[in-house]
């Protein structure tokens, strides 16, 4: 099946913050353009794969409270990333599996019960305007489409390059008899978990390039240190509260290039983990860089939840 040219999504409920995201604007950092793109890239890719989209097709990234969309024409959608209740009208639908929508039906993406950001892929991709090669909303620079608003209509594109991953009857039956384990076979999320009582999420971190700006005591404490994710956190970075990491020297670091996952430490000592919309250069020292899998976890860490740094093999030169 191909995505209908007339397919569109009408925003019934925009949620706290829902943005269009793809793989971002790589290759422009030297001009001051942030990478942007899905904060949890792996979840974005899984959502696209479920509906048979190309990896770079744009998805919708929700924040904490989900969103609701009414379909014009027919659509195949899938919700990945933060687990949440999914329903079509009043009928529960699987999370983490493709779902067919008929004309006029409303997809309800519920509040995140485990994590922060859910990704809604629609077969064909969200066809928002391309800016500098990407449809991503960059909240630091203001590039890309505006966050979703109630009543807005999103066109659906033609970036499907495979088939939706509908479970076969056999797979569906075994998933049900196995107790409905989540995954590609899909599962309805029916119970709320309490994220605040969950153990701290581990963020593996490679020390450097400015570890020498910190006291030996700060570096020793960093390994295993727990921090609370503050409500100041956003797509730019995870702002943490906990043990301050004191500088070992005075002065200013001349501005230098910043990477995704960089743990930048301002004079307050309270670290910031850079996420997708991070600035391209910065003048505070980076004590270490969170690994790819750590960035995915950090992007799903809700305000009030806890994270713990774990110094990983530096694989030094």
């Amino acid at each position: 099946m191909s995505a209908g040219a007339d397919t569109a999504l009408e925003v019934v409920r925009a949620g706290a913050l829902t943005t269009v995201q793809d793989l971002g604007r790589l290759g422009l950092a030297h001009l001051g353009v942030p990478r942007s793109g899905a904060a949890d890239v792996d979840a974005h890719l899984r959502a696209n794969a479920l509906v048979g989209n190309a990896p770079g097709a744009a998805t919708l990234e929700t924040t904490a409270t989900g969103c609701a969309l009414r379909v014009r024409g027919e659509a195949v959608v899938a919700v990945e990333g933060a687990r949440c209740r999914v329903s079509v009208g009043d009928v529960p639908a699987p999370w983490g599996a493709p779902v067919r929508l008929r004309a006029g039906q409303v997809l309800e993406v519920g509040a995140a019960v485990d994590g922060l950001r859910s990704y809604v892929a629609v077969r064909g991709g969200v066809n928002a305007g391309v800016v500098l090669g990407s449809r991503s909303t960059d909240l630091l620079s203001g590039l890309g489409p505006a966050p979703l608003r109630v009543g807005a209509t999103l066109a659906v594109g033609s970036e499907a390059d495979g088939e939706p991953a509908f479970a076969t009857m056999g797979a569906l039956r075994s998933s049900v008899t196995d107790g409905g384990a989540v995954g590609l076979s899909g599962a309805a999320v029916t119970e709320m978990s309490v994220a605040h009582h969950a153990p701290a999420v581990e963020l593996p971190l490679v020390l450097g390039p400015r570890a020498d700006w910190f006291t030996a005591r700060a570096l020793a404490a960093l390994d295993g240190a727990e921090y609370v994710v503050t409500s100041e956190s956003n797509r730019v970075g995870l702002r943490l509260d906990g043990l301050p990491l004191h500088w070992a020297r005075a002065g200013e670091l001349p501005s230098e290039g910043m990477v995704l996952g960089a743990v930048q430490v301002p004079p307050s000592g309270l670290p910031v983990v850079f996420l997708a919309d991070h600035p391209t250069t910065g003048g505070y020292p980076v004590v270490g860089v969170v690994t790819h899998e750590g960035v995915a976890r950090a992007s799903q860490a809700a305000p009030g939840s806890r994270v713990r740094f774990a110094i990983a093999d530096s694989r030094a030169l």
Binding site: G27, L31, G32, E256, T291
Partner: protein, 213 residues
Amino acid sequence: MSTREVRIAPVGDDALLIEADSGAAIAPWAAHARALHDDGALHVTDIVPGARTVLLDGVGGPQARDDLAAEVAAWDPRAEEATGGPLVEIGVTFDGPDLRSVAELWQVPVDAVPGLVCGAELTVAFCGFAPGFAYLTGMGRTVPRLETPRTRVPAGAVGLAGEFAGVYPRESPGGWRIIGTAVDAVLWDATRAEPALLAPGTRVRFVEAGHCA
């Protein structure tokens, strides 16, 4: 002339930082990396110059990163590589609210500031803060930032801070001392083939378009 004295450090699993002791010393490395990339001989996602550094990001994982570090250590960029950028002239009306404070800091008459600014041969060292915001070196004089940043600086404002000069590509908050307004220069246009007027390595000369001090 050779400029070999740099340090090379890993940045996480997927990037390298090349660091020199000064902006002048790192510029040839930034230009060399960009030239190699344009020739298809350097496979990284981003080359991000800083004040004294060049970040090579998206190198392809730890093994590729370590291999690249060994390659970079063998680079021998020549100082001349940093001087071949295109020249952009920007007309400036010297009508900024901080013209007088800059004159006082430089201990010159107010009407001497435009000549000093326009006489400098400037180069874009790096970009940051906002898309198309270029940090220009070569002024040869410094001024401290404003103690209290302005909540609103108009697009086109020409400012000075530290050793740098810059032009605000769009309205934003800012702590630079504003000495004038760029005339007819579009610093940033995302729909252009080259969205930033002032990419790293670009040489810049300010030209006096008027004087209302």
